[in-house]
Amino acid sequence: MTAPITADPEAVPPEARPAVRELHDQLERVWSDGPGLRGWLMSTDHKSLGKRYVITAFVFFLLGGLEAAVIRAQLARPENGLIGPDLYNQLFTMHGTTMMFLFAVPVMTAMSLYLVPLMIGSRDLAFPRLNAYGYYVYLLGGLFLYTSFFLNVGPDAGWFAYTPLSGPAYGVGKRVDVWAQTITFTEIAGIIAAIELIVTIFKQRAPGMSLNRMPLFVWSALVMAFMILFAMPWVAVDSQFLAMDRLIGTHFFNQAEGGDALLWQHLFWFFGHPEVYIIFIPALGFVSTIIATFTRREIFGYPAMVLSLVATGFLGFGLWVHHMFATNIPQMGESFFTAASAMIAIPTGVQFFCWIATIWGGRPRFATPFLFILGFFAVFIIGGLSGVMIASVPFDLQVHDTFFIVAHLHYVLLGGGVFPLFAAFYYWFPKFTGRRLSERLGRWNFTLFFIGVNLTFFPMHLLGLHGMPRRVYTYLAGTGWGSLNLLATIGAVTIFVSVVIFLVNVARTLANGELAGDDPWGSSSTLEWATSSPPPSYNFAHLPVVEGRYPLWSRPQEPPVVTGLRTDQRELLITTVLDARPDHRHRTPDPTIWPLLAALTTGITFVALVFTPWAIVIGGALAIGPLVAWGWGKPQPGDPVVTEGVE
């Protein structure tokens, strides 16, 4: 009998169809979420949760964008009276916090959580219940922040919340506490996602997918996950120190009692700098994947690409001091820090040159995802070059905390994060939904976005050089900054229109878009395109066996598959770390409501922690029930049970 990877009866000879249909029904019974709202709430499927994750993150992107729009409207002309300093300070704090903590990192982990199991040929993530818990904690964190904002308790000390401004003496009210707890929510979600990804990538790759054959996106997800694991605890602990200074009178950052305001900055930027690469590295994975598909050529210099990713991840931890050049760091250190910061340009350069070589050697096809990749090149290079400039201490002291930095970071994050992300949306949308986004609207989307980004942010370089500091709610007419600011605001309107076009495109496609088929691009190389669009709940009817780096390009007529996994319960195939040899079968748990309830108790704890330290005790007591119920689980028929003695 032929064992297909997809469970599409059309794809097999007529005589095999009933058997395939029966297999599909059986797997669907075992792996699907279950009916109705109950099934929806209990879901632990990485695809259901991944989609929710992506959509939630995108909603936060829109909210953060709206905040930016109000900021731009206020700054459109000098001495504008649209909003006052109080709301302005809240808005830019919310914008930064939303974009960094609720959008950029979550959307990258969300895309990875959806795509990685499909790309490596597995049926789910390693710990599906934990994944559900992580998503709900993240959602609750975002809801908490926005509820506070709408109750006028939004944080107002900046996304970096420097002490002592955010400390108990100057950060009055509960605003900074809200910020500190939001951080904790999202850090927990991030660390959980990191552990999911590391374990899944190491232990659940399809047989034959050795490390040396892993898709570059999977590599980048792996490097991102390691960076999250080592970077996020810093800001989580840092924000807890801050919360304790405010709540129970500790003195971590209180200079008068031997604490240190700079300790906050060191701990924050030890996280804050890797954070940029946490966003940037998965985007590099998108770029490699999409370039390979749209040039029909394998990525040039695969080992160099992988080493560059690893080197970037490594170096990303050594650069945090360059956010603190103005704080009187030892003069001795300047050239060291500059050299270390400039060095990161080398692995980035290696990747750029390899991509250009790939495009040169391939046959580019100008579909919307590829256009966004070209946009990524143009925009990101500007951000990268200004990044090398501000590695220089003397120059950084001129432009630090000015609009030059605003321009630089948006070129980097929009160029290095959002352009590839839009490319990825267009590229994988057919896989998520089974329908293709309109190319015509996609081109409009891209063109306006490209123009808008440059129009908004390029003038800001000049504004910064001409002395405009960041985070000012207004400026005097005599400063001469008015016309460039107006230009930037017009650019922001352009971006806004472009995003509206994207939303229209999505809405129209969902209503009646062109059906995609399994592999709409015709030249995709990775395993997620080997199954149907959208994928069935069990991902693959039979797990694939991989024989090269680009499994779909070298696929024989009847691709080799894995047989023998049980179909009457949820079972994953666990393979070895290095060469992905089949090692054992793992019974993965069924859907359950407990992660949601556990997340709720976590949420209650963190919110209550804004008001009383006893919340830890109360929350801990509340959490015991859901956690025990989560882990206990009753065996299903067919599960082995141990009585006394040996198995």
Binding site: M1, A3, A126, F127, L130, I195, I198, V199, K203, P207, L229, F230, M232, P233, W234, V237, D238, F241, M244, I248, G249, T250, H251, F252, N254, E257, G258, G259, D260, L263, V545, E547, P560, V562, T563, G564, L565, E571, L573, I574, T576, V577, R581, P582, D583, H586, R587, G620, L627, V628, G631, K634, P635, D639, V641, V642, T643, G645, V646, E647
Partner: protein, 209 residues
């Protein structure tokens, strides 16, 4: 070796049949082991950060601990270290029992570990008093408390995990995977006790050197 040989070649060239592979394994072959390592990495980072804060604020003090603050007492903390040293062989024995699927053994082992974890928590209470400072006295007190308290959360978590696993092993139904859970719990135990040894040297011994 024998399990791996049971990966058979199925009908088509290159296809493999995995029905003969085992469903319960131990150690780094399992994903829960890797998950435990992941959480250990995140928690280890947390402890490192507290230690970094402790070392960093020293720059603001002429003497350490600050004037009028006595050195932390050694009795409780040293008892803790010794207690942990005694517990490790017990957990190694439990780990071996788990790998033999010895239900009686792991029951004894996990009940003992619950007792140990409870004892750690009790001694931790005295250790906090032995610091002779409060979290709100000054930055020395804040950071020393942060280090000791951050590690206390590991102890409390381990106590609940040990208690829950013991209850599960006693009440049942016991599945083979629970033996693997016991094994992972032992791994976490080594991490928890090893981390305390380093932090003990930092908070209780280093001010004396």
């Amino acid at each position: 070796m024998s399990e791996r040989e049971s990966v058979r070649v199925a009908g088509e060239p290159g296809s493999i049949d995995v029905s003969g592979l085992p469903s319960t394994t131990f150690g780094h072959r399992t994903i829960t082991w890797w998950g435990t390592i992941g959480f250990m990495a995140a928690e280890g980072m947390t402890l490192i950060i507290c230690a970094v804060a402790y070392l960093y604020v020293q720059r603001n003090f002429q003497v350490w601990p600050p004037r009028e603050t006595p050195l932390p007492s050694l009795t409780a903390a040293t008892i803790q270290v010794l207690l942990m040293a005694v517990s490790v062989p017990v957990m190694m024995w439990t780990s071996r029992a788990a790998r033999r699927f010895d239900l009686g053994g792991v029951r004894v082992g996990m009940l003992t570990s619950t007792g140990f974890a409870l004892a750690f928590c009790v001694v931790r209470w005295f250790e906090l008093h032995a610091l002779h400072t409060r979290w709100d006295s000054n930055a020395y007190g804040s950071t020393a408390w942060a280090v000791v308290f951050a590690h206390a959360t590991l102890l409390i978590a381990q106590f609940f995990e040990s208690a829950a696993l013991s209850a599960l092993l006693l009440v049942g139904p016991v599945e083979p995977k629970h033996f693997s859970d016991v094994d992972d719990s032992c791994l976490y135990w080594y991490f928890m006790t090893g981390a305390w040894l380093v932090l003990y040297l930092l908070v209780f011994i280093s001010p004396r050197v």
